[in-house]
C-alpha cells in the first residue's frame, strides 16, 4: 500500500514525547519524495491515455493515486512543521546556543531556520521596553524568593 513510509515519519515524531527532537530522517523524506515522483509519472501516463484514447475507466485509478500524492504531501509538511515547532521551543528551553547533541539531530536547513528564528525573536525583544529592549525568555519560572 502507498504512503506507508510517510506515516512512519509521523509515528516517529509521535513517539518522541514532550517535544524531544529525534534525528532528522533524511532517508525517510527521500523515500516519500521518490514515491511521489513515481505516482505522479504513472498518473501522467494514465491521464494522457485517458485523453487520447478515451479511457475514462482510468479515472478512478488516477484519483486513487492523486489521493496518495496529497497524503504524502501532507505527511511531509506536517513532519517538517512539527520539527520546527520543537526546534522553536528549544530556543526557549536552552537559550540561543543549542547543545551539540541536539544540533546533531538537525539538518542544515533546520539550523538555518533556527538562526533566522533567533534573529526574529531578538528583533522583537529589542522593540519592547523602550530603548533597552526586554528579554522575555528570562524568568520563565518565578524566583525562589
Amino acid at each position: 500500500m502507498f504512503c506507508e513510509k510517510a506515516i512512519e515519519l509521523i509515528r516517529e515524531l509521535q513517539r518522541a514525547s514532550d517535544g524531544q527532537l529525534p534525528a532528522f530522517n533524511e532517508d525517510g523524506i527521500r523515500q516519500v519524495l521518490e514515491e511521489m515522483k513515481a505516482l505522479y509519472e504513472q498518473n501522467q501516463t494514465d491521464v494522457n491515455e485517458a485523453k487520447s484514447e478515451g479511457r475514462s475507466d482510468l479515472i478512478p485509478t488516477i484519483k486513487f493515486r492523486h489521493c496518495c500524492l496529497l497524503r504524502n504531501q501532507r505527511c511531509i509538511a506536517a513532519y517538517l512543521y512539527d520539527r520546527l515547532l520543537r526546534i522553536r521551543s528549544l530556543r526557549w528551553e536552552y537559550g540561543s546556543v543549542l547543545p551539540t547533541s541536539i544540533r546533531f539531530h538537525m539538518c542544515a536547513e533546520e539550523l538555518e531556520w533556527f538562526n533566522q528564528y533567533k534573529k526574529s525573536l531578538a528583533t522583537y525583544m529589542r522593540s519592547l521596553g523602550g530603548d533597552e529592549g526586554l528579554d522575555v525568555t528570562q524568568d520563565m519560572q518565578p524566583p525562589k524568593s
Binding site: 500500500m1 509521523i10 509515528r11 478512478p60 512539527d82 521551543s89
Partner: protein
C-alpha cells in the same frame, strides 16, 4: 517542554491539515467496498490475483483514502460502519457508556465516529448522538480521576480510555500538578 505547542487536532468533523493527531486518526481503517474497477492497482489489494482491483472488492481502507475517493454522485467506493458504531454497540453505549474499553475498541472512538459522518448514511444522526452521549456519560469519571490522582501511577486509570479521553485526563493532571506547585510556592 512547555514551549512545544503542536498543531492541535480539529474539532468535530474537521481535521487540521498539519496536526499529527489528525494524520494518525485518518490512518484508521474502515471497511469499504469498491463500486467500480480500479485498473492497474491490483497489487494494492494483496489478495487479488488480477492486475486490477475488481468492482465489488471488500477491503479495509484508511480513512484518508476513503474520504478522498468518496463522492455522492460518482460512486467509487462505499463505506460501512465499523462494528463499534452499529446498532448493537450503540445499545451497549446507551445502557452504560462506562463499561466499554474504548482503547481496545478504538483507540479513536470519538475522532473516527465524527469522521464517519462524512459518509452518507441514514444512521448518521444516531451515530452522532451516541458518540456525544458516550462522551458526556464518561466525562465525569475522567475529570474526577484526573483531579484525584496526584503523584501516583495512573496507568490503570487511563488504560480503557480513547485518545481524546487520555488527552483530557492529561490536561486535568497538568492542572492538578500546576495547582499543587502553586500552593507550594513553586
Amino acid at each position: 517542554t512547555q514551549s512545544y505547542l503542536p498543531v492541535p487536532p480539529g474539532v468535530g468533523m474537521e481535521e487540521n491539515f498539519l496536526s499529527l493527531d489528525d494524520i494518525l486518526l485518518s490512518q484508521e481503517k474502515l471497511p469499504t467496498r469498491t463500486e467500480c474497477v480500479f485498473p492497474r492497482l491490483g497489487f494494492v489489494e494483496k489478495t487479488s490475483d488480477t492486475r486490477d482491483i475488481p468492482e465489488g472488492t471488500k477491503m479495509e481502507m484508511p480513512l484518508w483514502l476513503a474520504k478522498g475517493l468518496y463522492d455522492n454522485k460518482r460512486r467509487l467506493v462505499s463505506v460501512e460502519q465499523p462494528k463499534i458504531y452499529r446498532q448493537g454497540w450503540r445499545t451497549v453505549f446507551s445502557a452504560d457508556p462506562n463499561v466499554v474499553d474504548l482503547h481496545k475498541m478504538g483507540p479513536y472512538y470519538y475522532g473516527l465516529g465524527s469522521q464517519l459522518l462524512h459518509f452518507d448514511s441514514p444512521e448518521n444522526p444516531e451515530i452522532a448522538q451516541t458518540v456525544l452521549q458516550t462522551y458526556i456519560g464518561r466525562f465525569r469519571r475522567i475529570m474526577d480521576s484526573s483531579q484525584n490522582a496526584y503523584n501516583e501511577d495512573t496507568s490503570a486509570l487511563v488504560e480503557r480510555l480513547d485518545v481524546l479521553e487520555r488527552s483530557l485526563f492529561r490536561t486535568g493532571q497538568i492542572g492538578l500538578n500546576d495547582f499543587q506547585r502553586w500552593e507550594k510556592g513553586q
